[in-house]
Symmetry: C2
Subunit: 99 residues, 2 copies
């Protein structure tokens, strides 16, 4: 039986492919696919930001090789960076509570 | 309600802290904690490798700042790298099947 961490790793793979296979290169996210993924899978993250250019900015930041598409490596870098930010917040709250 | 991706991100944070809080610095994994995490949470990954020095090697690779401990950023880099490797394997299998 897979562990929780293995399930989490598998989730990242499945979510990426659920959106990347919709249009064009099925192993990469174009801007429309990235936007849909962010809106549907990171709702809390996007909902607190009212910047209409956010998806463009994220695409530019993620797209390390400048092909206007996000591959799986670039996607995982985004998830890792967001997770580190969430962890920083979590640790800060723990320290504030003196735990 | 959190999405699958948000649950996966939360899982990485919770798993790390479940082991990091056991000994010494509660926000970092020492070698014993890392070994326990790998054995219990990445069983499939470890079970196919019979190298008794594997934990030492992983610790050396992950410990970017050479303090003999693995912080959350270093842990997330490991999970990201493993997930990319799993995805590469998954994509290769898909392409072999001609899907």
């Amino acid at each position: 039986m897979p562990t929780q961490l293995e399930i989490a790793m598998n989730t990242m793979i499945m979510i990426f492919h659920r959106y990347s296979c919709r249009e064009g290169d099925r192993f990469k996210l174009n801007k429309g696919e990235l936007k849909m993924l962010l809106q549907q899978e990171l709702t809390d993250f996007l909902s607190c930001r009212k910047d209409p250019e956010l998806v463009d900015k994220i695409m530019q930041d993620l797209d390390a090789n400048k092909d206007n598409e996000v591959d799986f490596n670039e996607f995982v870098v985004m998830v890792a960076a967001l997770t580190v930010a969430c962890n920083d917040y979590f640790v800060e709250q723990l320290k504030k509570k003196g735990k």
